[in-house]
């Protein structure tokens, strides 16, 4: 898939995933990988950016298998951002689809 497409939608998918439940980095990477095939390395910088922009807050929780895990939780402004992106995506999606249909008819 076009990497530019992926990049644009990656933030939305990450926000949606964390909205479902708090997740730690590796879990999130796996979750996102289910939806889109993305380089695993690129998700961590995104998590960092979303945390820096206060859409996420983090906390540590002990794990049985190893060192404590850093969990990501959606903040209030994170939820707002998620709503905004979702709305934008839907509009965008509808417009693009409408345009595709239109150009199909013209063919």
């Amino acid at each position: 898939m076009n990497t530019q497409f992926k990049k644009g939608v990656l933030e939305l998918i990450v926000l949606l995933s964390v909205n479902k439940k708090d997740m730690y980095g590796y879990e999130l990477v796996n979750e996102v990988s289910k939806v889109i095939d993305v380089n695993e390395g690129t998700i961590y910088p995104l998590l960092k950016r979303l945390t820096n922009e206060h859409y996420f807050e983090t906390y540590l929780e002990e794990s049985k298998e190893g060192p404590p895990r850093k969990y990501y939780r959606l903040t209030k402004s994170g939820r707002e951002q998620k709503q905004l992106l979702l709305k934008e995506w839907n509009t965008f999606h509808e417009q693009v689809n409408a345009f595709i249909k239109e150009s199909d008819c013209n063919e």
Binding site: G25, Y26, V29, N39, E40, G41, T42, Y44, P45, L46, L47, K48, R49, N52, E65, G66, P67, R69, K70
Partner: protein
């Protein structure tokens, strides 16, 4: 790239980000790799799955609103500049001598070692010179004594100068010859060799001087005639003796200070008996005694350890 290399690379490339944050990010990646390894995937494969690492680094910097070009610019400029200077230096050197920069750096380092060794060797000369001067002055009075001690200083320093220059020349020519041959031996061997050689020579010089040096001369000549198999041990013995002498010289003032401080303590006690007690002085003196004592015992321990080792 394995995990260690990855961590080193990330740390280097993300150096602009403050340490705490950097660790936080890199820890995430380390966790990720560890999890992959637990699932039976190798470190290398896990890191390969990250994709282009430089791209990833760009995105991390982007998360901090750092322009990657800006972040690199100083680093890059400095690196380029150092590279240029290095190449320039290399060109000049090779045009003159046809030697590698590595070899030149090595040569400079070796010269430094030789100079340090010679500086250490100077210490016993200094001692002999000052003791001799003192003896002359006390035996012959201030007039002739001063003259004699001056001559003595001159004589000892001349011997040292001869030793210094010949060791330097000897080592340098040896190194040069070895370079031409392309073989390489530890510099210390050369230094030891030339030192032994010079000591024997010097002993012959001294033979004409005084009877008191006879014993030392014999020792040195013995050393000189000893087979090369035992050469290393004798040299290390010389070095450890020199080190011990230095150690004792350092310890001496502290020992004297302790004696002095005890005298002062006695004086204070006497004053207390007479009715004047100054607690501050007590504390200062006792503290100083403890301090000096610990330094002396430290030196002693170092010397004993060194002795046992050799």
């Amino acid at each position: 790239m394995n995990k260690e290399q990855f961590i080193t690379y990330m740390n280097k490339k993300l150096a602009v980000i403050k340490e705490e944050e950097r660790k936080d990010i890199i820890d995430e990646y380390i966790n990720h790799i560890d999890m992959k390894v637990q699932e039976g995937i190798s470190e290398e494969e896990a890191i390969a799955a990250f994709g282009d690492i430089d791209e990833m680094i760009k995105e991390i910097l982007d998360a901090y609103n750092i322009d990657p070009k800006q972040a690199n610019s100083f680093d890059h400029k400095l690196n380029d500049w150092i590279d240029q200077v290095f190449i320039w230096f290399q060109n000049i050197l090779s045009s003159f001598t046809g030697m590698d920069v590595d070899n030149v750096v090595k040569l400079v380092f070796e010269i430094l070692i030789v100079l340090i060794v010679l500086a250490i060797v100077h210490i016993p000369f200094e001692i002999v010179s000052s003791i001799g001067g003192g003896v002359f002055r006390s035996l012959l009075g201030s007039g002739i004594g001063s003259l004699m001690s001056g001559l003595w200083h001159l004589f000892i320093n001349l011997i040292y100068l001869v030793l210094f220059l010949s060791v330097l020349v000897h080592v340098a020519t040896k190194r040069w010859a070895k370079w031409k041959d392309g073989t390489d031996t530890p510099i210390m061997d050369d230094v030891k060799e030339s030192l032994r050689f010079e000591q024997a020579k010097e002993a012959v010089h001294r033979f004409t001087d005084t009877g008191e040096k006879k014993e030392k001369r014999n020792e040195e000549q013995k050393e000189y005639t000893k087979s090369t198999a035992t050469a290393a041990t004798t040299s290390s013995m010389i070095f450890s003796t020199i080190l011990k002498i230095i150690g004792y010289l350092i310890a001496l003032p502290f020992i004297l200070a302790i004696i002095g401080l005890f005298c002062a303590l006695g004086f204070l006690i006497q004053m207390s008996v007479q009715g004047v007690t100054i607690i501050g002085f007590y504390l200062v003196i006792i503290g100083s005694i403890i301090g000096c004592w610990s330094i002396v015992s430290l030196i002693e321990r170092v010397l004993c350890k060194g002795g046992r080792k050799s």
